[in-house]
């Protein structure tokens, strides 16, 4: 994975996806945030989250990338590595 970071606009888009999907308008995306911290972030919604991100950013994740994400930090780094 590269050392690239998401810019502010990308980070805002990602935050919006989380807030709408998990119905948490005040949710802040810290790197350590994981499924256990967000009610409703289970295996069902994890896939929905990924598909939403894929559609918003026009990227594609592999099955293993989807299964291997441990927290938001992982997700942000992986997403940044896929963006041009």
């Amino acid at each position: 994975m590269s050392d690239k970071l998401l810019d502010l606009d990308q980070l805002n888009k990602l935050t919006d996806i989380f807030r709408v999907l998990f119905n948490r308008p005040d949710l802040e995306l810290s790197d350590n945030l994981s499924a256990k911290d967000v009610p409703g972030w289970d295996s069902f919604n994890h896939v929905n989250l990924i598909i939403n991100i894929e559609e918003e950013f026009s990227v594609r994740f592999s099955n293993d990338e989807v299964g291997g994400m441990q927290n938001v930090g992982n997700l942000k780094a992986l997403l940044a590595s896929k963006l041009p």
Partner: protein, 399 residues
């Protein structure tokens, strides 16, 4: 489970640890694989060990062939070889299940296929829990074929696929994690590790031989079996299976910690679950994680990509039904277990709608509403598990 009251088993378990401490050449997983083979031979006899070794060699050869085709041939030949491997694996799984279900199967097989080395194959399938070896093979194939993980030598692979301390009922260990055992520092015991090992093994023995067997003997007599004729029997069965299975899993985990061989946690207070979905993340956790990794996530991703996020909820019902019907058939090839799996999958999909409703109403946050919902959830889960135990114990829809 009588394995754990056999002094020979414990003698072998300690000997394997002492042998691992010695500075033999080779990495930890190779040395464990080698001593594991010796342990299996002493415990179960040469026929079963030979059957297991033959199976591991076949699996190793097949995976080796498929991964070597990756760079040399067209994708069609690799796909064909992969399909052939999975068909072979599935055939052996069916053989194992039919053998368990039908006591005449062995004699029938000898008549139908006299060329088959049934004396070697059948004891291997009966004595070892092939259902677990089957799911480990799938995890191995997933890692090596699709994730490009390196394939270990056949002896090390024996330690992953047929570990003697996970003989009876798993858990389902992960190939990638087994490989990582080599990266860890020495297997020398620290005081904390000694305490962890002792805690896991003694708690496991207490669960199995005091709680599970105590409950069985109290209600059904010294030599009695639990026969489910009413709801109370079903409750006893659920409690018995928990202490039996969780006890076994903790002993296996304790031995895994003893050797430095990854052996996953399998239970996490399942009766505190507030939904069936929550229950399956706490009961037989290693199997749940296997299903999520190898079935649910890949199928759900493909389905939702095809039909769009708008239909994600419908897709999840289909995916859960497929994933849990696999779990049902993995337990037993019968209509009852298949329908049990479909029902569990459908129920979890329904729970998803309820959960979304609760989140929308903000009833899932702290407060009286959350306490009430969680308490009701625990009662609902317990009742449902008792009902499902009654359903499968009586084989409501026999083949």
């Amino acid at each position: 489970m009588t394995l754990f009251i056999n002094p020979i088993f414990w003698g072998i378990a300690i000997s394997v640890y002492l042998l691992l401490l010695m500075r033999f050449p080779g990495r930890l997983i190779f040395r464990f694989g080698l001593f594991n083979l010796i342990a299996l031979t002493i415990l179960l006899g040469w026929k079963i060990s030979l059957g297991a070794l033959g199976f591991v060699l076949l699996t190793w050869s097949a995976i080796n062939l498929i991964t070597s085709l990756k760079n040399k041939s067209s994708s069609a030949s690799r796909s064909l070889a992969t399909l052939g491997f999975f068909l072979f694996l599935f055939f052996l799984f069916l053989l194992h299940k039919f053998n368990l279900a039908n006591s005449e199967f062995s004699a029938q097989l000898k008549q139908t296929a006299p060329w088959l080395p049934a004396e070697i194959l059948l004891p291997f399938f009966v004595t070892l829990s092939f259902s677990y070896i089957f799911v480990r093979c799938i995890d191995l194939a997933h890692s090596c074929i699709w994730k490009n993980a390196p394939l270990v030598d056949p002896i090390s692979l024996m330690g992953y696929l047929v570990p003697f301390h996970m003989l009876v009922a798993g858990p389902v260990n992960i190939y990638d994690e087994h490989m990582r055992a080599n990266e860890r520092p020495s297997s020398a015991m620290t005081p904390v590790r000694v305490l962890l090992v002792i805690n896991e093994i003694t708690t496991g023995l207490f669960y199995k031989f005091v709680l599970a067997e105590g409950i069985r003997i109290y209600f059904y007599g010294l030599n009695g079996n639990i026969s489910v004729t009413g709801w109370f029997d079903s409750l006893i069965l659920v409690v018995y299976v928990f202490f039996d299975f969780a006890g076994y899993s903790r002993i296996a985990r304790g031995l895994g910690l003893f050797y430095g061989i990854p052996t996953p946690v399998n239970f996490n207070a399942p009766f505190l679950a507030t939904s069936v979905t929550d229950f399956w993340t706490r009961w037989h956790m290693s199997m749940g994680q296997f299903v999520r990794r190898n079935l649910f996530t890949p199928i759900q991703l493909q389905l939702v990509r095809r039909v769009g996020v708008k239909w994600a909820a419908t897709a999840s019902i289909v995916t859960m039904a497929i994933s849990f019907s696999f779990v049902g058939l993995w337990h037993r090839m019968s209509w009852t277990w298949f329908l049990w799996g479909v029902a569990m999958g459908a129920l979890m999909a329904v729970e998803k709608f309820v959960q979304t409703f609760l989140i929308t109403k903000k009833w899932d946050r702290s407060g009286i509403a959350k306490i009430a919902i969680d308490s009701l959830g625990r009662v609902y889960v317990l009742l449902l598990i008792i009902l499902s135990a009654y359903f499968v114990a009586n084989e409501v829809f026999p083949i």
